[in-house]
Amino acid sequence: MMLVALLLCVAGLFAVAVAATILAANVPGRVLTYGATAALTLVALSLSALGLFGGGIETLRLPIGLPWLGANFRLDALAAFFLVVVNLGAAASSIFALGYGRHETAPQRVLPFFPAFIAAMNLVVLADDAFSFLFAWEFMSLTSWALVLSHDRDATNRRAGFIYIVMAGFGTLALLLAFGVLAGTDGNYAFAAMRAHAPDLQTAALVLFLVLLGAGSKAGIVPLHVWLPLAHPAAPSHVSALMSGVMTKVAVYAFARVAFDLANLSDWRLSAVVIALGGVTAVLGVLYALMEHDLKRLLAYHTVENIGIIFVGLGLALAFRANGLHAAAALAATAALFHVFNHSLFKSLLFFGSGAVLGATRERDMERLGGLIHRMPKTAAYFLIGAAAISALPPLNGFASEWLTFQAIFLSPHFPQWGLRFLAPAAGAMLALAAALAAACFVKAFGITFLGRARSPQAETGRETDKISLAAMAGLAALCIVAGAVPGTFTAALAPVSQMIASDHMPSRGLAAPWSPLVPSLGSANSYNGLVLLALLAAAIALVMLALRILANGTSRRAPAWDCGFPDPSPATQYGAESFAQPIRRVFGTIAFRAREEVFMPQPGDTAAARIHVRLIDPVWEAIFAPIARGVGFVADTMNPLQFLTIRRYLMLVFLSLVVLLAVLALWL
């Protein structure tokens, strides 16, 4: 029943997409489109939430797609959870777009694809056979590719679109091969058939490798992340939010679906690969972000980081499960899934904020922003909440899920294998490093963008964004606080999912006891109670304020900045994004990016300005993608003369083929 209703929502979204080709022409039409999308996704959201709590499994077969297979759909706990994530993010984006989308410069390039993109993501999660899955998956890529190209006059966006679609094609083909392996030689593409027989170790390893390539390239696992910081920022901000906050989660879903459900990976060595990749991804992702001064790109790189954290969690869950430690597996899986949910909240929020900034100033480059907290106080406040949440600061939601991940890592002594016992702490160290660097990065992101003095006229004149956009941000910010305050409720809601993929669930007192602390496993003394912490902090702040009112001189006076007595009126003397990250670049960047600083100092007496130039080398691009591009170019150049042969030479080719073929036959017979 729920499944049918969800599919109807998807169909409705497609209908909206078709209608949007006409509706995009005027403002009421756009409002209608986004409004309808928001309404449909909200309905889908409530349906999937019901599906999650309902706990049953529904399946449905429609007579479309491959004739002998049909299109199979299935709603189970895992799918329901990811549908919640997808539709929550989609609803938030649609609502945000009700305001933000009015300023859209190319609405007819955005509106038709936006609902279709959301519908495709829903279908990926619902699909229950390889064909429907990949169909929806690649359609999702195609629609989002079109959205990336919505500002196609910009050459960088076109390049981003190109790299994106090639990576997407690569990912789809890898997944296709993975399903090919799982389906076996008789080509049974139904997930039910794949579930039925467990692959042997070699096959499982192959499947894992291919799924990491396929889902990993969409999620942004290093080194397959290169498209992500290019493509996510290129799209309009509400779409960036969807791509970064939601689509990467769909990729996580794909991985989880295959690893936990279809292939049922049960060898610890395989999980070790996932953990290691996750750790590396987390650290490199955040380091990339630190080197960045384009606000949206910085956010996209943070998606890479968070995907790393999620994959560490999933890898740990696989590892625990492989060793029969189901309670621990449930903890790790819940941590990862909770982080999935949380990341979709704050990443959408942050992209909305960056969209508001972009709308107000037409600037994404942080070096040309600054001081926006004065012009856009509300946006600044919401962005700050998002920034704190993504930096894993208590009492917000990002901390809660990272706390759970760390708790899962602390259970690593239970591993019987030495490899995992060493790997898990190492992954923990990487996560810790990533968390600390993320905080540093968001001090930069928020500080340089919103604080200080305006670095450009646009930043000086920016205006607060519209009420609807602010409402969307406020809603997400509130959710970040709520999920941080009562994480127990959310982990309790995840119980059916972890029961499904890890055969156990975290101890909880259910949804009805939001005040109960988060306890990682039965009998553990460790606990975290966001609500109490929040109350304590509120009380402390109230006490301090009260004390100030009673004890302190409450008057304030405005004066020019002190700055050790040498205030400089030029905003250029402030710290910018580059200079802020300079210490960290010197510590980490020299290793990760071979960062070099070149200083051009004019001769004494010369009035030319001194310049400092920073050179960063992206190791992944240099080591993998540039050689591939060069290789393709080289092969193409080498082959190209074959277009310019003479007829006689072409005849020679035919003749030689014939002779070779006949000779082979003569030898064969």
Partner: protein, 481 residues
């Protein structure tokens, strides 16, 4: 109720009569309309075949293999005639063609359609060969229509290579006859598909093998498989665009169809060496070669001609791989490719006409300057690149996944080839459809209907494949082994 005239025969007679009429009719515009009408009638006749399938006659036979292709053939013929009515009229306006050539063009078009219909419908190997040969000759003339130095050179290249190919195919046909003759006796039965297929298991396998080698190279030349492809890019690039559409969409299919027919015989003969390795090798080489060649193309029609080579490679690979899934995929891919690629050539016709150039560098930002055309083109390229929701995705899905299950290493090569060409397609699409529009911004006055129709069919097939078509394809796929 039996139709008053055998529809299978009608698909041959209508074009033949129309060709005669068109030679006589002096007015170009009228000629265009007669062309459309005749093509439409042919298409209706072919549709009638779907409803009433006539019993196999002496010369013509309709079965599960050719029924879909005859419908596609006549459909694309019809849409192309609609497209070319506008296109060629414009060519006359700009003075690239004179009315005298035009008359010739329309007659030739009908003649070409008739030959291809004959090749598809005939029950006799020799007749099929004759039909393919005449189709080749007609297209050679069409390619040389503009009389430019380049067009003549391309036509000559096509002519020589095509003739050699056709000669090799004939030798193969004779060898098949020789293989059949001791079993089924002298005369026509030894050249009739039905009899051949029924008795194929008793043929001399060695002779069949050699025959297939010749047929593969002969008809493979017509299909544009590497290394026999050389005529194809130039013929596509230098001829009139409607002819490029027909070449890519139909003639290549006819060639593959011929190969399939003979492959059926081999599949039915247990002693024959399976032709799989040969077809897979040629297929993979075509895919990879075309994929890389795409990157250095500067002419938009030549670019998509190479894409056709790639797709012929995929089809050949699928059939070479064998098994019900891959064969089904190959058949589906043939159908989808011919619709999609001819649609692409229609849109290329629009854009080259607007911009007055075939150079990729001269065509930019179509989605901005001509939104409808631009987005149709984007969708068509996405379709040909094998992205959903279009039908090519379905066939590529089946090919890749079944290849990986049987021949993992080859599947990886296949995947690399697909990826390489996907990259090239989108690289060029980036500049063709997006960015700042340059050149003429005049609206296109030609109809968009044929492109939309093709796209809609491909879209529909991607989402829902009618059970009847699936059943026919599955039947043939099983016979292909």
């Amino acid at each position: 109720m039996m139709p008053p005239i055998d529809p299978a025969l009608a698909t041959l007679i209508v074009p033949a009569c129309a060709a005669l009429v068109l030679v006589i009719v002096p007015f170009s515009r009228l000629g265009g309309w007669i062309n459309v009408l005749a093509s439409f009638l042919t298409f209706v006749a072919a549709l009638a075949l779907l409803i009433v399938r006539p019993a196999a006659g002496a010369l013509l036979a309709v079965d599960d293999l050719n029924i879909v292709f005859i419908v596609i053939n006549t459909l694309v013929g019809f849409t192309t005639s609609v497209f070319s009515a506008g296109y060629i009229a414009h060519e006359v306006e700009t003075g690239r063609l004179t009315p005298r050539y035009l008359r010739f063009y329309h007659a030739m078009f009908q003649f070409l359609m008739g030959s291809m219909n004959l090749a598809l419908l005939t029950d006799i190997t020799g007749l099929m060969w004759v039909a393919v040969e005449f189709a080749t000759l007609t297209t050679v003339i069409m390619v040389s229509l503009y009389r430019t130095r380049e067009a003549l050179e391309a036509a000559w290249k096509y002519f020589i290579l095509g003739s050699v190919g056709i000669a090799l195919a004939l030798f193969g046909t004779i060898l098949v006859y020789m293989a059949a003759q001791p079993v089924v006796g002298d005369g026509l039965p030894a050249m009739t598909w039905g009899t051949l297929l029924a008795n194929a298991s008793r043929f001399d396998p060695a002779l069949l093998n050699i025959a297939f080698a010749f047929l593969m190279l002969g008809y493979g030349t017509k299909a544009g498989l590497v290394p026999l492809h050389a005529w194809l890019p130039d013929a596509h690039a230098e001829g009139p665009t409607p002819i490029s559409a027909v070449l890519s969409g139909l003639l290549l299919n006819v060639a593959i169809y011929a190969i399939l027919r003979f492959k059926l015989l081999l599949a039915a003969n247990p002693g024959a060496v399976a032709p799989g390795p040969l077809m897979m090798t040629m297929g993979l080489v075509s895919i990879l070669f075309a994929g890389f060649m795409l990157y250095r193309r500067r002419d938009v029609k030549r670019f998509f001609a190479y894409s056709s080579i790639e797709h012929m490679g995929i089809i050949a690979f699928a059939f070479g791989l064998g098994g019900p899934l891959a064969n089904f995929a190959g058949l589906l891919h043939m159908a989808m490719h011919s619709l999609t690629k001819s649609g692409i050539f229609f849109s290329i016709g629009h854009m080259t006409r607007i911009k007055g150039s075939q150079r990729i560098a001269d065509i930019t930002g179509l989605t901005s300057s001509h939104p409808l055309l631009g987005w149709i083109f984007v969708a068509s390229v996405a379709a040909i690149a094998g992205l959903p929701p279009f039908g090519v995705f379905t066939s590529e899905f089946l090919v890749v996944s079944s290849a990986f299950a049987h021949k993992p290493l080859l599947a990886i090569v296949l995947v690399i080839g697909l990826l390489v060409s996907l990259g090239a397609l989108f690289l060029r699409l980036n500049s063709l459809a997006f960015g700042e529009p340059t050149g003429s911004l005049a609206p296109s006055r030609m109809t968009h209907a044929p492109m939309i129709l093709h796209l809609a069919i491909v879209l529909g097939a991607g989402i829902f494949l009618p059970a009847a078509i699936a059943a026919w394809f599955q039947h043939v796929a099983r016979m292909l082994g």
